[in-house]
């Protein structure tokens, strides 16, 4: 009987009856071959490796994390709740010590979904890692978490959600935003005024291969994690840096992904993107499963693998090495972005910034006015005014450990907004009392 060095729980949920549209890259077929490969390899017969079915996230699980306008039902489908529930199940396995590591192989993905949700962005409606993290915090009292996003696209949603949270270190490795959706993720984006240096963006040039991402992992990410000392390390495991991915331009192989995972050694991995559903996903996902279980992955190769063709350009190597030298400064001594309405600026007791968010799937624009109350005694109250066309909504979040003044302020803002009827929908996330309420219809 084969045995894993570390026990691994795999939540495999291919959602075989859900798709955005029949030919959309995020469709039913996406995890089909991965499932075939894992089953044909007999992975779940290995002692210590088990397959689990997902939980289903509740409306409250979503409302704990997101402002959803008009409401959760309007911006999610059942499959989103199952996908988020899959991530929660993975976390539960690890927290309950049923498994030492867990991998949620679920779809649809979530890392482009921001704090405020009004539709789908880049195939994402709700942020399944963030829903999982907030669920962990509420049910297990976890505080310090590191999320390492290895999807080829910038994890702008996760960045947005934890922008003001000093207890979450968010690190995103991705193809340079000047060349790919969503066009963000530059080193200067390093976190809000109370969480500066807790967002680390590492843009990589198109054509970066195994060597590049592994260098970043070894020389930059691991030292930062050692410094931050998180209670949990979570991998937003997008598989679209693969050399066969149809919508990106990177050169990472299944071996590279397995080694990356072995170095990072995350407690929980959650599948994000990855659309080379035949040539990459079966091999990459198997590699990650083997690495997480501490098993040998050296015999793993894509059928069309040619080491020579995947060698990265020397200029990229040089660039990556320079990046690794300079980036630690963003964590230790983060440069302040110029104060302006887009980056954020002080207005009295509030730190305000204006955001404009394009929902590529729905094809509409949202404008946001985000305010963080600069309290000094606690992390500070968060409010977001969101507008699409003429429909205005308000979200207020009282954070963990908020002081009494901020709690009162939050409640009075919600009350006042109702009296003035300036907003069609209002949502209050009260983390202190674990109350999630919404008003308006």
């Amino acid at each position: 009987m084969r045995k894993a060095e570390r026990s691994l729980g795999v939540v495999l949920f291919p959602a075989f009856d859900w798709a955005i549209s029949p030919t959309h890259p995020e469709r039913e077929e996406r995890l089909l071959y991965t499932q075939d490969q894992l089953h044909e390899e007999g992975l779940f017969d290995v002692e210590g490796v088990r397959e689990y079915k997902p939980d289903v996230a509740t409306r409250e699980d979503v409302e704990r994390t997101h402002f959803c306008f008009p409401d959760v039902d309007a911006v999610t489908t059942r499959s989103h709740l199952v996908s988020a529930g899959g991530a929660i199940r993975a976390a539960r396995l690890v927290m309950d010590k049923e498994a030492e590591r867990a991998f949620a192989l679920v779809r649809p993905p979530g890392h482009h979904a921001m704090k405020c949700v009004r539709g789908a962005r880049g195939f994402c409606n709700v942020n399944i890692e963030a829903i999982m993290v907030e669920w962990l915090r509420e049910h297990y009292g976890v505080r310090r978490v590191a999320i390492v996003d290895t999807d080829c696209h910038h994890g702008d949603g996760t960045q947005d959600i934890y922008w003001h949270d000093p207890d979450v270190l968010f690190i995103s490795l991705h193809q340079d935003g000047r060349t790919i959706f969503p066009g963000t993720g530059f080193p200067i984006e390093s976190g809000g005024p109370t969480a500066r240096g807790r967002t680390i963006n590492i843009p990589l040039p198109p054509g970066t291969g195994d060597q590049g991402v592994l260098t970043v992992m070894r020389e930059l990410v691991l030292p930062l994690l050692a410094e931050f000392q998180p209670e949990l390390v979570i991998n937003s495991a997008g598989q679209d840096n693969h050399y066969t991915d149809p919508i990106t331009d990177m050169k990472v192989s299944a071996q590279g992904y397995a080694e990356l995972n072995a170095l990072l050694n995350p407690d929980i991995a959650v599948l994000e993107g990855g659309y080379a559903i035949q040539g990459a996903l079966p091999y990459v996902n198997l590699g990650i499963c083997l690495a997480m279980a501490g098993m040998d992955y050296s015999a793993l190769r894509e059928p069309d693998y040619h080491a020579e063709a995947l060698r990265q350009d020397e200029r990229i190597t040089a660039y990556v090495e320079e990046l690794c030298r300079q980036m630690p400064r963003v964590y230790h001594d983060p440069p302040a972005a110029p104060e302006n309405p887009r980056n954020g600026m002080r207005e009295g007791d509030w730190w305000m910034r204006n955001k404009s968010i394009f929902y590529d799937t729905g094809g509409f624009q949202e404008t946001q006015k985000e305010g963080l109350h600069l309290c000094g005694n606690c992390r500070g109250l968060l409010k977001i005014e969101s507008q699409v066309d003429s429909l205005r909504c308000l979200g207020v979040e009282i954070p963990h450990g908020a002081c009494t003044a901020c709690q009162n302020l939050g409640h009075s803002i919600v009350e006042e907004s109702q009296l003035k009827s300036a907003f069609r929908y209002v949502q209050l996330i009260d983390r202190v009392n674990k109350e999630y309420s919404r008003y308006g219809f």
Binding site: W18, R27, L286, P303
Partner: protein
């Protein structure tokens, strides 16, 4: 007249059933000691006993369940096999090396059945030559994803035998190709199943020859012989000669089929077969037994052999009582028979005797034994007996609960299944085996469920064997982009048009299933044929649908032909 024989570890049970009337009548039943060095002798003895006073010309069928293959493997009497594997990239195959003549070959097939690396003829010939030098005469040839495309397995067979003839050849007595074991994905299991199929092949065929010969001598040459499988169905003897691995661990299936024949099971239920050493727990959903998701384990090697989901725990009538501190335990050890039957250590049966729940053997011996053990542990005999019975019932209850929880936790792959997913909530207990009646009330105390122990429970397994239907299952895989449709278990493939769809696939799978039954000369079971899985995925390249990836499974539903209800 139907005959059923279940060769068990301790006893060989046999029944003769008369089906000529409106009901099923047990004409004769017997239990003889199983002689492991002479299984055929045990079978013959049981046959002779049940056939006394029966007109042998009226016997139409004999269904046989035997531990022969199981024992051969457990006792290491299996023959040497040449195992040639083509694993391609992925997990390291040497971790499941099963025998000495295990050869890992170059070549690869991907998940859609595209050949991504070719076989190396020189390397294959060298491997075959090495096997021949070791005197190997049985070969298992297994490729990864061979159920998507059997090219490598077929090629290897051709190189081995220099003939495409299905029958043996000069260079090998028997060959198992991995894809013939069925269409399910699981490479290590396919390798192990093919290996075991070869390892027991010769021994099994010798036994089958001997059974046929002795039936001839007994004037039963005209009788159809079927062999029980672990999934609760039977296969014709001729077919079983090519698939002996399927006859493994069919004992629990006979018991489960027996309970189906004896009781009307409609709801979610739990079946407890309480034997001497173990209790076998099976679970029914809506009156149908549940199968193992993947297949049974043989000698700690998982295989693709379909089997009923049966959990065996170490609590039975002969389980020894023990104490840890104040805690009374039953099993899992067995230290000989109960004291009521001449043993030297008190058992559950002795405790049941003391409680007045049964009257087995020498009641006084049970009382003395329990009293002596109680005294040495400063506890009253009454308390010891009561707590022992309670502990046995509680263990069975807890193990059943965890089995049901595990079943309810099994993975599902669609939102529909997950949201609408059926949970199993047992509503009734069915009890069989020696201590069944005695344990009924204590178990009721734990489960709080209606419970029933049917008549004839002592030979329920032989009745089950006699009445079990012949079953078979096929899996169809189609890829309209590649224009192929393939039924691995039948080794059948054909070209299909791009317009081929799920409905076509369901129809074809069903037709092939029925044609296969006809080949086995079993045309009558068509009404029990059912589709158990059907899915179709659009395959997209760029923004265009380039084809469909279709999977269909169908089976003859396992069950019994008639019941005694």
């Amino acid at each position: 007249m139907y005959l059923g024989i279940d060769v068990g570890g301790t006893h060989t049970d046999a029944v003769a059933l008369d089906l000529s009337g409106p009901g099923v009548e047990v004409v004769a039943a017997c239990k003889v000691k199983t002689r492991h060095d002479d299984l055929l002798g045990s079978v013959n003895e049981a046959l002779e006993r049940i056939l006394r006073g029966v007109d042998r010309k009226l016997v139409r069928r004999l269904n046989l369940s035997t531990t022969l293959s199981t024992n051969a493997i457990v006792e290491g009497r299996a023959e040497d096999v040449g195992v040639l594997v083509v694993p391609g990239p992925g997990m390291d195959p040497s971790e499941y090396m099963l025998c000495k003549d295990f050869h890992v070959l170059d070549g690869a097939m991907d998940h859609r059945g595209n050949e991504t690396a070719r076989l190396d003829k020189a390397q294959c010939s060298a491997a075959l030559e090495a096997c021949r030098r070791d005197g190997v005469r049985a070969f298992a040839l297994v490729g990864k994803f061979s159920v998507r495309n059997p090219l490598h397995e077929n090629t290897l067979r051709h190189w081995l035998c220099h003939t495409k003839d299905e029958k043996g050849c000069e260079r090998a007595d028997f060959v198992t190709l991995g894809h013939h074991l069925g269409g399910r994905l699981n490479y290590p299991r396919r390798v192990a199943s093919a290996y075991f199929n070869c390892a027991v092949w010769r021994l099994y065929n010798q036994f089958a020859d001997a059974v046929e010969a002795s039936l001839g001598r007994m004037g039963l040459g005209h009788v159809r012989v079927n062999v029980l499988k672990a999934d609760g169905g039977t296969m014709p003897l001729a077919y079983s000669r090519k698939m002996p691995v399927q006859s493994i661990f069919s004992g629990p299936a006979a018991s489960v089929m027996g309970i189906i024949a004896l009781c009307e099971i409609i709801h979610d239920s739990v079946i407890l077969d309480i034997g001497g050493t173990t209790t076998d727990i099976a679970v029914f959903a809506d009156g149908a037994p549940l199968l193992e998701r993947a297949g049974i384990e043989i000698g700690s090697h998982p295989t693709l052999v379909r089997a009923l989901k049966v959990k065996s725990i170490g609590v039975g009538g002969d389980s020894a009582l023990s104490m840890i501190g104040d805690l009374v335990r039953v099993g899992p050890r067995r230290l000989g028979p109960s004291m009521a039957e001449g043993g030297r250590h008190p058992t559950l049966t002795d405790a049941l005797n003391c409680r007045g729940l049964c009257e087995v053997g020498d009641l006084e011996a049970s009382r003395r034994g329990v009293a002596a053990y109680a005294e040495s542990h400063t506890i009253s005999p009454e308390k010891l007996a009561a707590q022992a019975v309670e502990a046995a019932a509680r263990t069975i209850h807890e193990e059943t609960r965890s089995l049901v929880a595990e079943i309810n936790d099994r993975p599902v792959y669609t939102i529909h299944e997950l949201i609408e997913g059926k949970r199993i909530v047992p509503r009734k207990l069915y009890l069989m085996g020696g201590p069944a009646k005695a344990m009924r009330m204590p178990l009721f105390g734990c489960f709080q469920l209606a419970s029933e122990a049917p008549e004839h429970f002592a030979v329920a397994n032989a009745i089950g064997a006699a009445l079990t239907r012949t079953t078979t299952d096929v899996e169809l895989f189609a890829d309209t982009q590649k224009h192929v449709m393939f039924l691995p278990g039948l080794g059948h493939h054909e070209n299909i048009p791009a317009s081929y769809n799920l409905e076509n696939a369901k129809r074809d799978a069903m037709n092939h299933l029925l044609a296969h039954l006809a080949d086995l000369k079993l045309a009558s079971d068509a009404e029990r044929a059912e589709i158990t899985h059907a899915s179709s995925f659009n395959m997209v390249e760029g923004m265009n649908t380039v084809g469909r990836n279709i999977r269909v499974k169908c089976q003859i539903k396992p069950g019994v032909e008639r019941t005694l209800r």
